[in-house]
Symmetry: C2
Subunit: 525 residues, 2 copies
């Protein structure tokens, strides 16, 4: 029997399929053309085009947050990777598996320093690991190694593939069974029982002076229910980390708000506690350093880590709850049902938007939250909303919300997705709207249009600049001209409408959710 001969690009795609890759968020160029051609011979991988690379990388992050499995991105040399780095930074902070495939010049062309030549590996290692394919025979193993590495840490892995190695022919590697492939998702190291016992002992001692901070896989339904049992038993307070990658929320879960963003409030919440237990997150530190305030938000001597990122926080919480003898979940640990709509004629503010979206939230929705104006109030209001999944900006590189919503919608086509998006951050990657239109995903984009970089005005105030000069005012303003989001959406093929009151927003939101495909609502704040 004649051996099948395939290109390096085809071998890469075959290895990726075997490792469970099903989607490629792509913005290819010349050096990726053999991979594009190979995609057409790889029915198991869907290609999704982004008009700018940060759309692709953010979408891969969103996809992996929902599925637990890495999507592939396909990017063009160093500049293509550079354009996608900001959302890879967020993915790194989210501990999300993402595999970038980046073409490079044909290997024998690299020494000539052609215009597009740059140090791709140096860029890649700022957000994760880099694997460079050294030859055609290397492709299968390098692809598997990159995907495994992305899942193992979990984090961002970049596979750099010179164009000639993509084109070269060699014998195909026999494909193992699909069932083995599908198991290539995230895996977590089990937490040592001794550590769980030690935390239990400390909680028994600290009692109601305990705080539990949940992140990562502590924010699954099971993880939160276990935390709720512990809280009901001990009186411990519960927070999620300030910017969780994925948090289950709403009906049937305890009310767990986020640890406050500004350090004064976070320190107030943690500073007088005897015990701060962290599960699935790193130690909470201030987002920025402010003179006179500590970087570490809890007193170091009160900190205990139950599970670090990459460890199985959910199981550790269940074990902890059982050890403590915490009762099965009762109504007392679930958040009260969210209030109804605010006054229909009320103008839109952060608070009324948060309440309206929480009240209108369909069952099993995914909500991508970026920006503070409506994001914090929504989070507070939605503890008692319909069961849903919240995704937040983990790394502070703004322009993440729309791409993550796109990726989440590709991952879960049957779930409604809502992108609750501040306008300033949305403008970094507005191109995501076009991919939403092309893929006809069920995303409702809610733009909080206050036409300012509001967080920066708050920060200027914190710096004692209460009277802004004209440049500070201009550099924190998105007016003059006002961005017209309805027009932008139309430009990218997404129908849009404007809402100025609670009634208009709730009607527009319900209509958008009820009909297929993407919609945008510009909320005039």
């Amino acid at each position: 029997m004649a051996e099948e001969t395939v290109t390096g690009a085809e071998a890469l795609m075959a290895a990726a399929v075997q490792k469970g890759v099903r989607v490629c968020f792509a913005n290819p160029g010349t050096t990726e053309m053999p991979l594009v051609a190979a995609l057409d011979r790889t029915p198991d991988v869907r290609g999704v085009l982004g008009l700018q690379e940060n759309v692709c990388t953010g979408a891969a992050d969103g996809y992996a947050r929902i599925t637990g499995r890495a999507a592939m991105t396909l990017l063009h040399l160093g500049p293509g990777l550079a354009n996608g780095l900001a959302n890879l930074h967020n993915a790194r902070r989210a501990h999300t598996p993402v595999v970038n495939v980046v073409g490079d010049h044909t290997s024998w062309h690299l020494p000539y320093d052609a215009p597009l030549t740059s140090d791709i590996a140096a860029l890649a290692t700022t957000v994760g690991s880099a694997f460079t394919v050294a030859g055609r025979e290397d492709i299968d193993a390098a692809t598997r190694a990159a995907i495994d590495d992305a899942h193992r840490r979990p984090g961002v892995a970049t596979l750099i593939v010179p164009a000639d190695h993509q084109q070269d022919l060699a014998a195909a590697v026999p494909v193992a069974s699909r069932s083995a492939a599908e198991s290539a998702g995230r895996r977590h190291a089990r937490v040592d029982s001794g550590r769980v016992k030690e935390v239990a002992t400390r909680i028994r001692s600290a009692g109601a002076s305990t705080v539990l901070i949940l992140g990562g896989d502590a924010l699954t339904r099971r993880g939160q229910q276990a935390a709720g049992r512990i809280a009901a038993l001990t009186g411990a307070a519960l927070f999620s980390e300030t910017f969780p990658a994925v948090a289950e929320r709403g009906a049937g879960l305890p009310a767990i708000d986020r640890l406050p963003y500004f350090p004064e409030a976070a320190i107030a919440a943690l500073g007088d506690r005897d015990l701060v237990v962290i599960a699935g997150a790193e130690e909470p530190v201030a987002y920025f350093g402010y003179a006179g305030l500590p970087s570490r938000l809890a007193r170091p001597e009160t900190l205990r880590s139950l599970a670090r990122p990459g460890e199985d926080a959910e199981e550790a919480l269940l074990e902890l709850a059982d050890l403590l003898g915490a009762a099965e979940p009762a109504d007392s640990i679930t958040a009260p049902k969210a209030g109804g709509l605010p006054d229909p004629d009320a103008p839109l503010t952060g608070a009324t938007v948060g309440q309206t979206v929480a009240a209108c939230l369909p069952e099993d929705a995914i909500v991508s939250v970026e920006g503070g104006t409506c994001g914090y109030p929504f989070y507070t209001a939605s503890a008692g909303a319909s069961a849903h999944t919240a995704l937040t900006n983990t790394g502070g590189a703004i322009g993440q919300g729309l791409p993550v919503a796109l990726g989440a919608a590709i991952a879960a086509p049957d779930r409604p997705v809502i992108a609750l998006q501040s306008d300033g951050s949305g403008l970094y990657t507005a191109q995501a709207l076009w991919s939403m239109s092309r893929e006809n995903v069920n995303v409702t984009v809610l733009i909080a249009a206050n036409h300012t970089y509001n967080v920066l005005r708050t920060e200027l105030n914190r710096h004692g600049e209460s009277a802004f000069g004209p440049k500070a005012a201009a550099l924190t303003s998105l007016s003059d001209p006002r961005v017209d989001w309805i027009a932008l959406a139309a430009g990218y093929g997404v129908p849009g409408r404007r809402a100025t009151t609670v009634a208009e927003l709730s009607q527009a939101l319900q209509a958008a959710i009820a009909s297929d495909g993407p919609h945008l609502i510009e909320m005039s704040l």
Copy 2:
């Protein structure tokens, strides 16, 4: 007399002003707020906001191409710099001075690895040099060193400034006289006379089998006129490098087309010549490596460098022309005047667009050219157009044309600027339209809307993929949905109209040029 006390941010701005910085293209965040506040106390520096960092860095490149002096960018930590890296890659390839000022966390907060922490210097060094401010007392010297370094190489220098050092107070450094400051522009090393003599000897011997390839400062009016004299005397052929940063073009200059992009044509132009003299550029190499074609486009033994980038190519060409005894410029060396408009009813194609824009070009225009569809035909057609300056994409990181046009227009408010822009590349940084509107710059944006990544289809064909599969077709298509550039422009506050014939384009173009502020014309190809 009491010593004046200023913040680090104010000291930075004072040093920048003294070194000739007049514009700051900014997309600041929390860690840059003291610098934003300092801008308001620095009347000599204009702040221009970009909605995404690649707009800022590309605009700084365009500004420096026209003025020869660095503009400052103001970017937010690692992710902000990452978002602007692609156009910094282009600036690096253009040998353009650009100074990035990037805020970092307060120095004592850095060890805690807060969400936005990343390796900023590692990112910066992929495109140039990095200077990290170690303390308040360091700011003045570090700012001067970064600006000097950007001008000296010339290239991209990044100054990383922890937020606390921006805020700290210290005595102001006395400001030297402004006249010294203004001299901080680009300077070029003089080419050794021995090298010029050696090249002259070789040209005398090779005669009409000589090719001169001009780049960098060989493409000034004086440089090209000297090259034209040499060509008239010897029969030598003239080319500019394929992607010049700045090229003077049109009336009074010889017809100098660009070295062809694809290697077959470039090799045909150079391969049988006895002598290939390069002035102001590096050795020409293929843009990408193609199997069976060499990377080096000229035979190595025929190459002679008259002036490398950073050396004074213009003076070297003048000296060379004099040494050869080339006569003063005559009509014979200037390009024939461009033809008139094509048939007014002709549909828009690359060729008719190129001819129409060349025929309508106002005197002293600046034309930012990005993309091949109309870019190459325009360049060929415009040799005999009104005198103008052409700026092209030097590094292949697409999304450069609109930001460069913005920066050029800020640099030269009295000159009409035209951005001849392919649609695919324009979509990477369409946010530049908003800054054009806000600054009310005289930029006419011409979008070549063929709704494909056409170069990629050409490359797929070159790879032998003549029948595209559905994914290859989709991943190289900007249809489904068609981007509506008129709507996008409206979203960003720029008036737009559509043109489908030569007559419509010429009318729209003339109307746009005649009225103030930015305009966009979507050319349906």
